[in-house]
């Protein structure tokens, strides 16, 4: 199963890299999201995947009696997911404003005003 996940990470990274090399701003944004997802799974994989054993101590126990899923990658990923929402929303609004200003989501159009200054 791990090998499938490894493959999945590769696919997500490849798609993300391909997207951020495009000219469209929307694709750039989606690419960043894909890279984020790939990274999350990579971190998740670091903690040895475990099935059906969430890192929650039984109600009548004080410590784990059995093996359990590694909680650290989970805490990291949870933080990453929420932060990435903040990033995405800010980027989307930025994109919207740029679109309202120059009427295109072509990254190359952002360069022209600068060059005219020179």
């Amino acid at each position: 199963m791990e090998l499938l996940l490894v493959m999945l990470i590769g696919v997500l990274y490849a798609a993300g890299v391909y997207f951020i090399l495009r000219r469209s701003m929307v694709r750039l944004l989606l690419g960043i999201m894909l890279l984020g997802n790939g990274t999350n799974i990579l971190i998740f994989l670091l903690g040895n995947i475990t099935k059906g054993k969430p890192p929650i101590i039984d109600a009548d126990l004080k410590v784990f009696a059995d093996i359990y899923a590694d909680p650290i990658p989970q805490a990291l990923i949870l933080t990453a997911i929420v932060i990435s929402f903040g990033l995405t929303s800010f980027a989307i609004v930025l994109l919207k404003r740029v679109y309202a200003l120059i009427g295109s989501d072509d990254l190359d159009d952002l360069n022209t005003p600068e060059e005219e200054d020179i």
Binding site: I56, G86, I92
Partner: protein, 137 residues
């Protein structure tokens, strides 16, 4: 897209989802849940309401701008963070009441910290979405 079905559903779903989010928040220390998840579920409840009734009506329902929730949440979280200093303990030391309270369980500074996170998440998500929605329409 004012559909009567959605409106009726939203009317009942809002309190249920809010209750669920409060449940997630309070039980987060023992079961899946916590401030982030609870806050996100609560925001989804409001977003659903705004889909059904329009953002303006949801804003009326909230009384205050969601932006005000952010400083309140940050204040609660930092108060929970610095409260142990008053007792001469290092910052972020967990403080707990001795006896558990029914339903909720143990009450301590961590719960207030989680409450702060909960409020900030609601404030952030709703501010972003409502600002965009009001701007777009």
């Amino acid at each position: 897209m004012r559909s009567p079905i959605l409106q009726t559903a939203a009317k009942y779903l809002l309190p249920i989802l809010l209750l669920f989010s409060a449940f997630l928040l309070l039980r987060g220390h023992y079961h899946p849940g916590g401030g982030f998840v609870g806050g996100l579920v609560a925001s989804i409840a409001f977003v659903l309401h705004s889909f059904a009734y329009g953002t303006d009506n949801t804003m009326k329902l909230l009384w205050y701008k969601p932006l005000t929730l952010i400083p309140i949440g940050l204040m609660i979280a930092s108060a929970a963070m610095f409260a142990p200093v008053l007792f001469g303990l290092p910052v972020m030391t967990g403080l707990w009441f001795d006896q558990p309270i029914p339903v909720i369980g143990m009450i301590g500074s961590a719960l207030f910290f989680d409450l702060g996170v909960y409020l900030v998440v609601i404030g952030v998500v709703l501010t972003i979405l409502f600002t965009i929605s009001l701007y777009t329409h």
